[in-house]
Symmetry: C2
Subunit: 194 residues, 2 copies
Amino acid sequence: MTRAQQRERTRAVLVEVSRQLFATRGYAAVGLAEIVRTAGVTKGALYHHFEGGKADLFRAVLAQVQADVGRAVAAAADAEADPWDQLVAGCRAFLTASTADPGVRRIMLVDGPAVLGWSEWRAMDEATSARHLAEALTGLVETGVIAPQPVEPLVRLLSGAMNEAALWLAETAAPSALDAVLAPLVRMLGALRA
Amino acid sequence: MTRAQQRERTRAVLVEVSRQLFATRGYAAVGLAEIVRTAGVTKGALYHHFEGGKADLFRAVLAQVQADVGRAVAAAADAEADPWDQLVAGCRAFLTASTADPGVRRIMLVDGPAVLGWSEWRAMDEATSARHLAEALTGLVETGVIAPQPVEPLVRLLSGAMNEAALWLAETAAPSALDAVLAPLVRMLGALRA
DNA sequence: CCCATTTACATACCATCGGTATGCGGAGAG
DNA sequence: CTCTCCGCATACCGATGGTATGTAAATGGG
């Protein structure tokens, strides 16, 4: 095995193992010793790949999780033709993606802001999930579907609403809960229309 | 000084000092050693008052912060006569209260869920800030101002939107940002009216 | 083909942290 | 005045994140 391959492989295993552990037990409750043991390497390898240590490793895990969610949102949106339907479909996709895997919530919504700080978390969020939301809203403003207004406050309001809703959905066993939260969300979105 | 007084005093100092430190540097970055040194006591005193250790101490700090914010929200709402105006005033008060003191955000919105877990954080939240929101919405539903619908999803959506907005406002220096986020929020709230 | 060099990791170690067990002085009850 | 118990201090421990150093193998120029 070539050197670049080995490097990438070790790094990938480290991220994958950490993602699993962080997802089930949370960032603070998982020690580096367990991570490297599960990954079959040592702390030397970990710090070779992630100079920043544990937080840096978490950063990589979060990036992967956000990329996954972002892909799901984009895919759902692309399946629709009408821009408004794309927005709604994206919102629904985000909620389902965040609810399906419990680890996503924990990593993305609970530990993320605490470990990296809110500003850095937000920067990463705006590179994936929130970016789709911002682009969709911008498009709707430009085409006159929703009234002209600053998009950034809207993104923060809606993003926050959906993040919290995702956390709530995870605890609500009822399968109808998704619709129970989507209905008022869509209704409130409707208020933005011109 | 009597014994009960001394006890309450030590506990209050511990909470106050911790609140200050957690607010400025975050839960994880503050050690117990610094807390007890600043408070002028020792770890023995800390564990005498807070059996659960650091997390238990944080719980007390969070409860105090939430109580402060809850009071501010309730006061603003009580100043209005019309139930709808009370809701809007409460939202505005929450955003201003969360923005005024940077520590409030850090403790209540960032570290809170990560340290105590989201479910416990939510339970505490629903005892203060979110409770006012829930009561206001329930009242509006009962009086027919907004359409009959489950209140709980609404509370989560709005609570999440405002929490995230508060974090965003803190980073946005512009003084007009509060209105920039309140305007679309109120507009979306309007969509709930019957 | 060979040697110099870098790379990818292992090992050993350290400082600090949260947490606990025990000791003690002084307030309060009788 | 004495005994008791409460509030807190002291001393200590295991575990954790982090670092400094060692090392074998891959790489690339001559």
